[in-house]
Amino acid sequence: MRDLRKTFGGVRAVDGCSFSVPAGKISGLIGPNGSGKTTTFDLLTGLTRPDGGRVLYRGNDLAGLKPHQIFRKGITRTFQITRIFREMTVLENMLSVTGLGVPDHVARERAHELIAFVNLTHLRAEYGGRLSYGQQKLLEFARALMTDPDLILLDEPAAGVNRTLLQHLLAQIHRLQESGKTVLIVEHDMNVIMNHCERIFVLDYGVKIAEGPPAEIRHDERVLDAYFGRRRR
Protein backbone atom coordinates (compact mmCIF):
# COMPACT_ATOMS: atom_id res chain seq x y z
CA MET A 1 0.00 0.00 0.00
CA ARG A 2 1.19 3.47 -0.89
CA ASP A 3 0.63 6.69 1.01
CA LEU A 4 -2.69 5.53 2.43
CA ARG A 5 -4.72 8.12 4.34
CA LYS A 6 -7.94 8.09 6.34
CA THR A 7 -9.32 10.82 8.59
CA PHE A 8 -12.23 10.47 11.02
CA GLY A 9 -13.40 13.94 12.02
CA GLY A 10 -10.15 15.64 12.96
CA VAL A 11 -8.33 12.41 13.77
CA ARG A 12 -5.84 11.23 11.21
CA ALA A 13 -6.27 7.51 11.84
CA VAL A 14 -3.96 6.47 9.02
CA ASP A 15 -1.75 9.27 7.80
CA GLY A 16 0.22 8.66 4.66
CA CYS A 17 1.23 5.13 5.45
CA SER A 18 3.15 2.97 2.96
CA PHE A 19 4.38 -0.58 3.23
CA SER A 20 4.66 -3.75 1.17
CA VAL A 21 3.59 -7.09 2.58
CA PRO A 22 5.99 -9.78 1.32
CA ALA A 23 4.18 -12.52 -0.62
CA GLY A 24 4.19 -16.03 0.78
CA LYS A 25 5.35 -14.92 4.23
CA ILE A 26 3.82 -14.28 7.63
CA SER A 27 4.09 -10.61 8.57
CA GLY A 28 3.01 -8.69 11.64
CA LEU A 29 1.43 -5.27 12.06
CA ILE A 30 1.88 -3.84 15.54
CA GLY A 31 1.51 -0.56 17.36
CA PRO A 32 0.02 0.90 20.54
CA ASN A 33 -3.77 1.13 20.97
CA GLY A 34 -5.28 3.59 18.52
CA SER A 35 -2.28 3.59 16.22
CA GLY A 36 -4.38 2.70 13.15
CA LYS A 37 -3.93 -1.05 12.77
CA THR A 38 -7.57 -2.03 12.47
CA THR A 39 -8.28 1.04 10.31
CA THR A 40 -5.51 -0.16 8.02
CA PHE A 41 -7.25 -3.55 7.75
CA ASP A 42 -10.57 -1.81 7.06
CA LEU A 43 -8.92 0.19 4.29
CA LEU A 44 -7.32 -2.90 2.77
CA THR A 45 -10.62 -4.80 2.74
CA GLY A 46 -12.87 -1.95 1.62
CA LEU A 47 -14.88 -1.59 4.82
CA THR A 48 -13.82 2.05 4.90
CA ARG A 49 -12.91 4.07 1.83
CA PRO A 50 -9.50 5.71 1.91
CA ASP A 51 -9.31 9.51 1.63
CA GLY A 52 -6.16 9.16 -0.41
CA GLY A 53 -3.46 6.77 -1.49
CA ARG A 54 -3.48 3.42 -3.21
CA VAL A 55 -3.74 -0.23 -2.25
CA LEU A 56 -1.80 -2.20 -4.83
CA TYR A 57 -2.42 -5.90 -5.02
CA ARG A 58 -0.83 -7.82 -7.87
CA GLY A 59 -0.68 -4.67 -9.96
CA ASN A 60 -4.33 -3.62 -9.37
CA ASP A 61 -5.43 -0.68 -7.27
CA LEU A 62 -8.01 -1.87 -4.74
CA ALA A 63 -8.68 1.52 -3.16
CA GLY A 64 -12.36 2.42 -3.46
CA LEU A 65 -13.56 -1.08 -4.33
CA LYS A 66 -16.44 -2.55 -2.34
CA PRO A 67 -15.72 -5.24 0.29
CA HIS A 68 -17.22 -8.08 -1.75
CA GLN A 69 -15.15 -7.06 -4.81
CA ILE A 70 -11.93 -7.07 -2.80
CA PHE A 71 -12.88 -10.41 -1.28
CA ARG A 72 -13.20 -11.88 -4.77
CA LYS A 73 -9.64 -10.82 -5.56
CA GLY A 74 -8.53 -13.37 -2.97
CA ILE A 75 -8.21 -11.29 0.19
CA THR A 76 -10.01 -12.33 3.37
CA ARG A 77 -9.89 -11.18 6.95
CA THR A 78 -11.01 -11.90 10.47
CA PHE A 79 -12.14 -9.30 12.98
CA GLN A 80 -10.70 -8.09 16.26
CA ILE A 81 -14.01 -8.79 17.96
CA THR A 82 -15.35 -11.87 16.21
CA ARG A 83 -18.14 -11.33 13.72
CA ILE A 84 -19.48 -14.82 13.32
CA PHE A 85 -23.19 -15.20 12.47
CA ARG A 86 -24.67 -15.96 15.88
CA GLU A 87 -28.05 -17.42 14.96
CA MET A 88 -26.68 -19.64 12.24
CA THR A 89 -25.08 -23.00 12.73
CA VAL A 90 -21.33 -23.52 12.34
CA LEU A 91 -21.95 -25.23 9.00
CA GLU A 92 -24.21 -22.40 7.81
CA ASN A 93 -21.56 -19.86 8.79
CA MET A 94 -19.17 -21.67 6.49
CA LEU A 95 -21.61 -22.02 3.59
CA SER A 96 -22.59 -18.36 3.59
CA VAL A 97 -19.29 -17.42 1.96
CA THR A 98 -19.64 -16.55 -1.73
CA GLY A 99 -17.45 -16.57 -4.78
CA LEU A 100 -16.57 -20.23 -4.66
CA GLY A 101 -18.11 -20.96 -8.03
CA VAL A 102 -18.52 -24.59 -7.09
CA PRO A 103 -21.58 -26.81 -6.80
CA ASP A 104 -23.28 -27.32 -3.46
CA HIS A 105 -21.75 -30.67 -2.55
CA VAL A 106 -18.20 -29.44 -3.21
CA ALA A 107 -18.80 -26.42 -0.98
CA ARG A 108 -20.14 -28.68 1.74
CA GLU A 109 -17.16 -30.99 1.48
CA ARG A 110 -14.80 -28.04 1.82
CA ALA A 111 -16.80 -26.69 4.77
CA HIS A 112 -16.59 -30.03 6.56
CA GLU A 113 -12.84 -30.27 5.91
CA LEU A 114 -12.22 -26.80 7.32
CA ILE A 115 -14.48 -27.39 10.31
CA ALA A 116 -12.38 -30.47 11.04
CA PHE A 117 -9.20 -28.42 10.42
CA VAL A 118 -10.11 -26.20 13.40
CA ASN A 119 -11.48 -29.06 15.54
CA LEU A 120 -15.12 -27.96 15.52
CA THR A 121 -16.67 -31.04 13.90
CA HIS A 122 -18.61 -31.97 17.04
CA LEU A 123 -20.20 -28.48 17.05
CA ARG A 124 -21.09 -28.16 13.36
CA ALA A 125 -24.86 -28.16 14.01
CA GLU A 126 -24.61 -25.72 16.93
CA TYR A 127 -25.42 -22.02 16.69
CA GLY A 128 -22.37 -19.80 16.26
CA GLY A 129 -23.48 -17.71 19.22
CA ARG A 130 -23.31 -20.73 21.52
CA LEU A 131 -19.59 -21.32 20.93
CA SER A 132 -16.95 -20.13 23.38
CA TYR A 133 -15.05 -17.02 22.35
CA GLY A 134 -11.98 -19.02 21.38
CA GLN A 135 -14.09 -21.38 19.30
CA GLN A 136 -15.69 -18.39 17.61
CA LYS A 137 -12.22 -17.16 16.68
CA LEU A 138 -11.47 -20.56 15.17
CA LEU A 139 -14.76 -20.57 13.27
CA GLU A 140 -14.05 -17.12 11.90
CA PHE A 141 -10.59 -18.26 10.86
CA ALA A 142 -11.99 -21.34 9.12
CA ARG A 143 -14.71 -19.28 7.46
CA ALA A 144 -12.08 -16.91 6.05
CA LEU A 145 -10.43 -19.88 4.35
CA MET A 146 -13.52 -21.15 2.51
CA THR A 147 -12.50 -19.62 -0.83
CA ASP A 148 -8.86 -20.63 -0.59
CA PRO A 149 -7.69 -16.98 -0.43
CA ASP A 150 -4.15 -15.84 -1.21
CA LEU A 151 -3.86 -13.05 1.34
CA ILE A 152 -5.24 -13.55 4.83
CA LEU A 153 -5.53 -10.66 7.28
CA LEU A 154 -5.91 -11.72 10.91
CA ASP A 155 -6.99 -9.08 13.43
CA GLU A 156 -5.78 -10.18 16.89
CA PRO A 157 -6.18 -13.93 16.39
CA ALA A 158 -4.69 -14.65 19.82
CA ALA A 159 -6.96 -12.39 21.91
CA GLY A 160 -9.20 -14.43 24.18
CA VAL A 161 -7.92 -17.77 22.90
CA ASN A 162 -6.46 -20.16 25.44
CA ARG A 163 -2.85 -21.38 25.07
CA THR A 164 -3.72 -24.83 23.72
CA LEU A 165 -6.10 -23.49 21.10
CA LEU A 166 -3.60 -20.76 20.26
CA GLN A 167 -0.82 -23.25 19.57
CA HIS A 168 -3.21 -25.12 17.32
CA LEU A 169 -4.20 -21.90 15.53
CA LEU A 170 -0.57 -20.87 15.03
CA ALA A 171 0.26 -24.29 13.62
CA GLN A 172 -2.58 -23.86 11.12
CA ILE A 173 -1.29 -20.42 10.17
CA HIS A 174 2.15 -21.91 9.47
CA ARG A 175 0.57 -24.63 7.37
CA LEU A 176 -1.13 -21.95 5.29
CA GLN A 177 2.14 -20.12 4.80
CA GLU A 178 3.86 -23.36 3.76
CA SER A 179 1.16 -23.86 1.13
CA GLY A 180 2.09 -20.48 -0.39
CA LYS A 181 -0.35 -18.09 1.31
CA THR A 182 0.47 -14.61 2.51
CA VAL A 183 -0.56 -13.79 6.07
CA LEU A 184 -0.65 -10.41 7.82
CA ILE A 185 -1.34 -10.44 11.55
CA VAL A 186 -2.36 -7.60 13.86
CA GLU A 187 -1.57 -8.72 17.39
CA HIS A 188 -0.80 -7.36 20.84
CA ASP A 189 0.70 -10.64 22.04
CA MET A 190 4.41 -9.99 21.38
CA ASN A 191 5.31 -13.67 21.71
CA VAL A 192 3.07 -14.44 18.75
CA ILE A 193 4.49 -11.57 16.72
CA MET A 194 8.16 -12.07 17.55
CA ASN A 195 8.17 -15.85 17.19
CA HIS A 196 6.01 -16.31 14.14
CA CYS A 197 6.41 -13.28 11.86
CA GLU A 198 9.26 -12.85 9.42
CA ARG A 199 8.70 -9.16 8.95
CA ILE A 200 7.10 -6.59 11.22
CA PHE A 201 5.59 -3.17 10.52
CA VAL A 202 5.11 -0.77 13.41
CA LEU A 203 2.46 1.95 13.38
CA ASP A 204 2.11 4.90 15.71
CA TYR A 205 -0.47 7.70 15.25
CA GLY A 206 -1.26 6.37 11.79
CA VAL A 207 2.33 6.58 10.60
CA LYS A 208 4.75 3.72 9.96
CA ILE A 209 7.63 4.26 12.38
CA ALA A 210 9.61 1.10 11.76
CA GLU A 211 9.83 -2.00 9.61
CA GLY A 212 12.08 -5.02 9.76
CA PRO A 213 12.65 -8.55 11.05
CA PRO A 214 11.76 -9.27 14.71
CA ALA A 215 15.33 -9.09 15.95
CA GLU A 216 15.68 -5.51 14.70
CA ILE A 217 12.27 -4.33 15.83
CA ARG A 218 12.89 -5.65 19.32
CA HIS A 219 15.71 -3.13 19.80
CA ASP A 220 14.43 -0.26 17.66
CA GLU A 221 14.52 3.00 19.63
CA ARG A 222 11.44 4.51 17.98
CA VAL A 223 9.38 1.39 18.68
CA LEU A 224 10.40 1.31 22.32
CA ASP A 225 9.56 5.02 22.59
CA ALA A 226 6.14 4.49 21.08
CA TYR A 227 5.30 1.67 23.45
CA PHE A 228 6.94 2.81 26.66
CA GLY A 229 7.33 6.57 26.24
CA ARG A 230 10.63 8.39 25.76
CA ARG A 231 13.30 7.09 28.10
CA ARG A 232 15.77 9.27 29.86
CA ARG A 233 19.20 9.07 28.40
Partner: protein, 312 residues
Amino acid sequence: MTRGEHLRNLALLVVCALVLALLPRGLSLYYRSFLMFTMMYVVLALSWNIISGFTGYTSFGHVAFYGIGAYACAILVADHRWHWLPTLAVGAGIAALVGVALGYPVLRLKGPYFAIAMLGAAEGTRVIATVWDGLTHGGLGISLPSAETSVETYYAMLVLMVVTIAVAYAVGHSRFGVRLNAIREDETAAAALGIDTTVYKLAAFVLSAIFPAVAGGIQTYKVLYIDPPSVFFVQITIAMALMSMLGGKGTVIGPIVGALVLYTAQELTWVNFPTAHLIAYGLFIVLVARFMPRGLVGLAIDQGWIRKGMLH
Protein backbone atom coordinates in the same frame (compact mmCIF):
# COMPACT_ATOMS: atom_id res chain seq x y z
CA MET B 1 -31.08 -31.80 5.26
CA THR B 2 -30.92 -35.02 3.33
CA ARG B 3 -32.55 -35.76 0.01
CA GLY B 4 -34.95 -38.14 1.76
CA GLU B 5 -36.21 -35.37 4.03
CA HIS B 6 -36.72 -33.02 1.08
CA LEU B 7 -38.73 -35.72 -0.70
CA ARG B 8 -40.82 -36.32 2.42
CA ASN B 9 -41.60 -32.60 2.71
CA LEU B 10 -42.46 -32.44 -0.98
CA ALA B 11 -44.82 -35.38 -0.59
CA LEU B 12 -46.43 -33.65 2.39
CA LEU B 13 -47.01 -30.51 0.34
CA VAL B 14 -48.53 -32.51 -2.54
CA VAL B 15 -50.89 -34.37 -0.20
CA CYS B 16 -52.03 -31.14 1.47
CA ALA B 17 -52.58 -29.52 -1.93
CA LEU B 18 -54.64 -32.50 -3.13
CA VAL B 19 -56.82 -32.47 -0.02
CA LEU B 20 -57.38 -28.73 -0.40
CA ALA B 21 -58.15 -29.22 -4.09
CA LEU B 22 -60.86 -31.79 -3.36
CA LEU B 23 -62.47 -29.90 -0.48
CA PRO B 24 -64.41 -26.96 -1.95
CA ARG B 25 -67.04 -29.08 -3.73
CA GLY B 26 -68.52 -30.24 -0.46
CA LEU B 27 -68.08 -27.03 1.52
CA SER B 28 -70.41 -24.16 2.18
CA LEU B 29 -69.49 -20.74 0.86
CA TYR B 30 -68.44 -19.66 4.34
CA TYR B 31 -65.92 -22.45 4.84
CA ARG B 32 -64.57 -22.14 1.32
CA SER B 33 -64.02 -18.49 1.97
CA PHE B 34 -62.41 -19.23 5.32
CA LEU B 35 -59.94 -21.65 3.72
CA MET B 36 -59.17 -19.18 0.99
CA PHE B 37 -58.37 -16.43 3.48
CA THR B 38 -56.20 -18.80 5.44
CA MET B 39 -54.25 -19.73 2.30
CA MET B 40 -53.88 -16.06 1.46
CA TYR B 41 -52.39 -15.32 4.85
CA VAL B 42 -49.98 -18.23 4.45
CA VAL B 43 -48.82 -16.58 1.20
CA LEU B 44 -48.54 -13.13 2.80
CA ALA B 45 -46.71 -14.31 5.91
CA LEU B 46 -44.25 -16.44 3.92
CA SER B 47 -43.53 -13.56 1.54
CA TRP B 48 -42.96 -11.07 4.34
CA ASN B 49 -40.67 -13.62 5.94
CA ILE B 50 -38.29 -13.66 2.94
CA ILE B 51 -37.20 -10.05 3.42
CA SER B 52 -37.99 -9.65 7.12
CA GLY B 53 -37.31 -13.11 8.54
CA PHE B 54 -34.54 -14.48 6.33
CA THR B 55 -32.86 -11.14 5.63
CA GLY B 56 -33.69 -9.24 8.82
CA TYR B 57 -35.23 -6.15 7.19
CA THR B 58 -38.51 -5.78 9.07
CA SER B 59 -41.05 -4.31 6.67
CA PHE B 60 -44.10 -2.46 7.99
CA GLY B 61 -45.33 -1.62 4.52
CA HIS B 62 -45.74 -4.86 2.67
CA VAL B 63 -49.41 -4.22 2.13
CA ALA B 64 -48.29 -1.81 -0.62
CA PHE B 65 -47.56 -4.78 -2.89
CA TYR B 66 -50.86 -6.42 -2.03
CA GLY B 67 -52.64 -3.21 -2.95
CA ILE B 68 -50.71 -2.83 -6.20
CA GLY B 69 -51.77 -6.32 -7.26
CA ALA B 70 -55.35 -5.59 -6.26
CA TYR B 71 -55.49 -2.39 -8.31
CA ALA B 72 -53.82 -3.97 -11.33
CA CYS B 73 -56.55 -6.61 -11.38
CA ALA B 74 -59.44 -4.21 -10.74
CA ILE B 75 -58.40 -1.62 -13.31
CA LEU B 76 -57.66 -4.10 -16.08
CA VAL B 77 -60.78 -6.17 -15.54
CA ALA B 78 -63.25 -3.33 -14.93
CA ASP B 79 -61.92 -0.66 -17.30
CA HIS B 80 -60.11 -2.65 -19.97
CA ARG B 81 -62.15 -5.84 -20.08
CA TRP B 82 -59.23 -8.16 -19.53
CA HIS B 83 -59.63 -11.72 -18.41
CA TRP B 84 -58.68 -11.72 -14.72
CA LEU B 85 -55.87 -14.33 -14.84
CA PRO B 86 -53.33 -12.36 -16.93
CA THR B 87 -53.88 -9.34 -14.67
CA LEU B 88 -52.20 -11.31 -11.90
CA ALA B 89 -48.99 -11.44 -13.94
CA VAL B 90 -49.23 -7.70 -14.62
CA GLY B 91 -49.69 -7.02 -10.90
CA ALA B 92 -46.69 -9.21 -10.07
CA GLY B 93 -44.59 -7.41 -12.71
CA ILE B 94 -45.51 -3.95 -11.42
CA ALA B 95 -44.84 -5.05 -7.84
CA ALA B 96 -41.41 -6.32 -8.91
CA LEU B 97 -40.58 -3.02 -10.63
CA VAL B 98 -41.79 -1.00 -7.65
CA GLY B 99 -39.80 -3.39 -5.46
CA VAL B 100 -36.59 -2.55 -7.32
CA ALA B 101 -37.26 1.20 -7.48
CA LEU B 102 -38.29 1.40 -3.83
CA GLY B 103 -35.87 -1.21 -2.48
CA TYR B 104 -32.75 0.34 -3.99
CA PRO B 105 -32.86 3.46 -1.80
CA VAL B 106 -34.83 2.11 1.15
CA LEU B 107 -32.75 -1.03 1.72
CA ARG B 108 -29.82 1.23 2.59
CA LEU B 109 -31.65 2.03 5.80
CA LYS B 110 -31.37 -0.32 8.73
CA GLY B 111 -33.59 -1.54 11.55
CA PRO B 112 -36.32 0.87 12.65
CA TYR B 113 -35.45 3.35 9.88
CA PHE B 114 -36.23 0.78 7.21
CA ALA B 115 -39.42 -0.25 9.00
CA ILE B 116 -40.65 3.35 9.17
CA ALA B 117 -39.67 4.09 5.57
CA MET B 118 -41.75 1.10 4.46
CA LEU B 119 -44.68 2.27 6.59
CA GLY B 120 -44.42 5.60 4.80
CA ALA B 121 -44.14 3.95 1.39
CA ALA B 122 -47.34 1.98 2.00
CA GLU B 123 -49.15 5.15 3.04
CA GLY B 124 -47.78 6.76 -0.12
CA THR B 125 -49.26 4.08 -2.35
CA ARG B 126 -52.60 4.44 -0.58
CA VAL B 127 -52.58 8.21 -1.13
CA ILE B 128 -51.63 7.78 -4.79
CA ALA B 129 -54.51 5.32 -5.25
CA THR B 130 -56.84 7.86 -3.61
CA VAL B 131 -55.83 10.96 -5.58
CA TRP B 132 -55.09 9.47 -9.01
CA ASP B 133 -58.75 9.63 -10.02
CA GLY B 134 -58.19 9.06 -13.72
CA LEU B 135 -56.61 5.67 -13.16
CA THR B 136 -58.06 4.36 -9.91
CA HIS B 137 -61.41 6.17 -9.61
CA GLY B 138 -60.05 7.53 -6.32
CA GLY B 139 -62.06 7.14 -3.17
CA LEU B 140 -65.08 5.79 -5.05
CA GLY B 141 -63.30 2.52 -5.55
CA ILE B 142 -63.76 0.08 -8.40
CA SER B 143 -66.57 -2.41 -8.86
CA LEU B 144 -65.89 -5.43 -11.02
CA PRO B 145 -68.61 -7.01 -13.16
CA SER B 146 -70.47 -9.26 -10.79
CA ALA B 147 -70.09 -12.99 -11.20
CA GLU B 148 -69.79 -16.12 -9.09
CA THR B 149 -66.01 -16.29 -8.68
CA SER B 150 -65.45 -18.09 -5.41
CA VAL B 151 -64.45 -21.45 -6.91
CA GLU B 152 -61.96 -20.24 -9.51
CA THR B 153 -60.36 -17.82 -7.08
CA TYR B 154 -60.11 -20.61 -4.50
CA TYR B 155 -58.09 -22.71 -6.91
CA ALA B 156 -55.96 -19.77 -7.96
CA MET B 157 -55.13 -19.07 -4.31
CA LEU B 158 -54.32 -22.73 -3.77
CA VAL B 159 -51.89 -22.75 -6.69
CA LEU B 160 -50.33 -19.49 -5.48
CA MET B 161 -49.90 -20.90 -1.98
CA VAL B 162 -48.23 -24.08 -3.24
CA VAL B 163 -45.85 -22.04 -5.42
CA THR B 164 -45.07 -19.64 -2.56
CA ILE B 165 -44.34 -22.49 -0.16
CA ALA B 166 -42.14 -24.20 -2.75
CA VAL B 167 -40.18 -21.00 -3.42
CA ALA B 168 -39.80 -20.15 0.27
CA TYR B 169 -38.65 -23.70 0.93
CA ALA B 170 -36.13 -23.63 -1.90
CA VAL B 171 -34.76 -20.26 -0.78
CA GLY B 172 -34.63 -21.31 2.87
CA HIS B 173 -32.64 -24.44 2.16
CA SER B 174 -30.17 -22.96 -0.30
CA ARG B 175 -26.85 -21.15 -0.01
CA PHE B 176 -28.73 -18.10 -1.31
CA GLY B 177 -30.95 -18.28 1.77
CA VAL B 178 -28.00 -18.75 4.10
CA ARG B 179 -26.43 -15.60 2.66
CA LEU B 180 -29.64 -13.69 3.35
CA ASN B 181 -29.35 -14.97 6.94
CA ALA B 182 -25.74 -13.76 7.00
CA ILE B 183 -26.92 -10.26 6.02
CA ARG B 184 -29.45 -10.39 8.85
CA GLU B 185 -26.83 -11.47 11.39
CA ASP B 186 -24.03 -9.06 10.44
CA GLU B 187 -24.15 -7.15 7.19
CA THR B 188 -20.56 -5.89 7.40
CA ALA B 189 -19.16 -9.36 7.93
CA ALA B 190 -21.36 -10.66 5.12
CA ALA B 191 -19.88 -8.08 2.74
CA ALA B 192 -16.38 -8.97 3.90
CA LEU B 193 -17.14 -12.59 2.97
CA GLY B 194 -17.90 -11.69 -0.63
CA ILE B 195 -21.66 -11.23 -0.45
CA ASP B 196 -22.83 -8.36 -2.66
CA THR B 197 -25.34 -7.24 -0.06
CA THR B 198 -27.12 -4.71 -2.30
CA VAL B 199 -27.95 -7.34 -4.92
CA TYR B 200 -28.96 -10.01 -2.38
CA LYS B 201 -31.20 -7.68 -0.42
CA LEU B 202 -32.86 -6.44 -3.58
CA ALA B 203 -33.47 -9.99 -4.80
CA ALA B 204 -35.05 -10.93 -1.48
CA PHE B 205 -37.17 -7.77 -1.49
CA VAL B 206 -38.48 -8.33 -5.02
CA LEU B 207 -39.21 -11.97 -4.27
CA SER B 208 -41.17 -10.95 -1.19
CA ALA B 209 -43.12 -8.36 -3.22
CA ILE B 210 -44.35 -10.60 -6.04
CA PHE B 211 -46.54 -13.09 -4.17
CA PRO B 212 -48.54 -10.54 -2.13
CA ALA B 213 -49.34 -8.73 -5.39
CA VAL B 214 -50.75 -11.91 -6.93
CA ALA B 215 -52.70 -12.60 -3.73
CA GLY B 216 -54.13 -9.08 -3.88
CA GLY B 217 -55.27 -9.65 -7.46
CA ILE B 218 -56.97 -12.96 -6.66
CA GLN B 219 -58.67 -11.53 -3.60
CA THR B 220 -59.96 -8.60 -5.67
CA TYR B 221 -61.55 -10.92 -8.19
CA LYS B 222 -63.25 -12.72 -5.34
CA VAL B 223 -64.75 -9.74 -3.50
CA LEU B 224 -65.34 -7.78 -6.75
CA TYR B 225 -65.03 -4.35 -5.13
CA ILE B 226 -62.00 -2.46 -3.86
CA ASP B 227 -61.21 1.01 -2.62
CA PRO B 228 -57.95 2.43 -1.22
CA PRO B 229 -58.62 1.90 2.51
CA SER B 230 -59.65 -1.72 2.03
CA VAL B 231 -56.59 -2.89 0.07
CA PHE B 232 -53.93 -0.61 1.56
CA PHE B 233 -55.04 -1.64 5.02
CA VAL B 234 -52.23 -1.43 7.56
CA GLN B 235 -53.63 -4.35 9.53
CA ILE B 236 -52.74 -6.66 6.65
CA THR B 237 -49.06 -5.78 7.13
CA ILE B 238 -49.36 -6.29 10.87
CA ALA B 239 -50.96 -9.68 10.29
CA MET B 240 -48.05 -10.74 8.02
CA ALA B 241 -45.52 -9.73 10.65
CA LEU B 242 -47.37 -11.16 13.59
CA MET B 243 -48.06 -14.50 11.92
CA SER B 244 -44.38 -14.89 11.03
CA MET B 245 -43.29 -13.88 14.52
CA LEU B 246 -45.74 -16.21 16.24
CA GLY B 247 -44.74 -19.19 14.12
CA GLY B 248 -41.05 -18.33 14.01
CA LYS B 249 -39.61 -15.89 11.51
CA GLY B 250 -36.59 -16.91 9.52
CA THR B 251 -37.95 -20.44 9.08
CA VAL B 252 -40.22 -21.89 6.39
CA ILE B 253 -42.69 -23.74 8.57
CA GLY B 254 -43.01 -20.90 11.10
CA PRO B 255 -45.03 -18.41 9.05
CA ILE B 256 -47.29 -21.24 7.79
CA VAL B 257 -48.08 -22.37 11.33
CA GLY B 258 -48.46 -18.76 12.48
CA ALA B 259 -50.93 -17.97 9.70
CA LEU B 260 -53.03 -21.08 10.43
CA VAL B 261 -53.15 -20.47 14.16
CA LEU B 262 -53.68 -16.74 14.11
CA TYR B 263 -56.22 -16.56 11.32
CA THR B 264 -58.26 -19.35 12.87
CA ALA B 265 -58.13 -17.66 16.27
CA GLN B 266 -59.13 -14.36 14.74
CA GLU B 267 -62.06 -15.92 12.90
CA LEU B 268 -63.27 -17.65 16.07
CA THR B 269 -63.09 -14.54 18.23
CA TRP B 270 -64.25 -11.65 16.06
CA VAL B 271 -67.79 -12.94 15.69
CA ASN B 272 -68.30 -12.79 19.44
CA PHE B 273 -65.99 -9.91 20.30
CA PRO B 274 -65.92 -7.55 17.32
CA THR B 275 -63.66 -4.95 18.94
CA ALA B 276 -62.05 -6.97 21.70
CA HIS B 277 -60.21 -9.12 19.19
CA LEU B 278 -58.17 -6.10 18.12
CA ILE B 279 -57.14 -5.49 21.72
CA ALA B 280 -56.26 -9.16 22.00
CA TYR B 281 -54.18 -8.79 18.83
CA GLY B 282 -52.17 -5.96 20.34
CA LEU B 283 -51.66 -7.80 23.59
CA PHE B 284 -50.59 -10.84 21.65
CA ILE B 285 -47.86 -8.90 19.80
CA VAL B 286 -46.43 -7.78 23.13
CA LEU B 287 -46.54 -11.25 24.65
CA VAL B 288 -44.96 -12.98 21.66
CA ALA B 289 -42.17 -10.39 21.41
CA ARG B 290 -41.49 -10.60 25.15
CA PHE B 291 -41.71 -14.31 25.85
CA MET B 292 -41.33 -16.06 22.52
CA PRO B 293 -39.17 -13.86 20.30
CA ARG B 294 -38.26 -16.79 18.08
CA GLY B 295 -41.81 -18.08 17.86
CA LEU B 296 -43.25 -21.58 18.13
CA VAL B 297 -40.51 -23.02 15.94
CA GLY B 298 -37.85 -21.38 18.11
CA LEU B 299 -39.49 -22.99 21.11
CA ALA B 300 -39.45 -26.39 19.39
CA ILE B 301 -35.76 -25.92 18.55
CA ASP B 302 -34.93 -25.08 22.17
CA GLN B 303 -36.80 -28.20 23.26
CA GLY B 304 -34.71 -30.26 20.84
CA TRP B 305 -37.68 -31.31 18.68
CA ILE B 306 -36.33 -29.60 15.58
CA ARG B 307 -32.72 -29.30 14.51
CA LYS B 308 -31.00 -25.95 14.46
CA GLY B 309 -30.38 -24.24 11.15
CA MET B 310 -31.70 -24.86 7.66
CA LEU B 311 -28.70 -26.58 6.09
CA HIS B 312 -27.42 -29.83 7.50
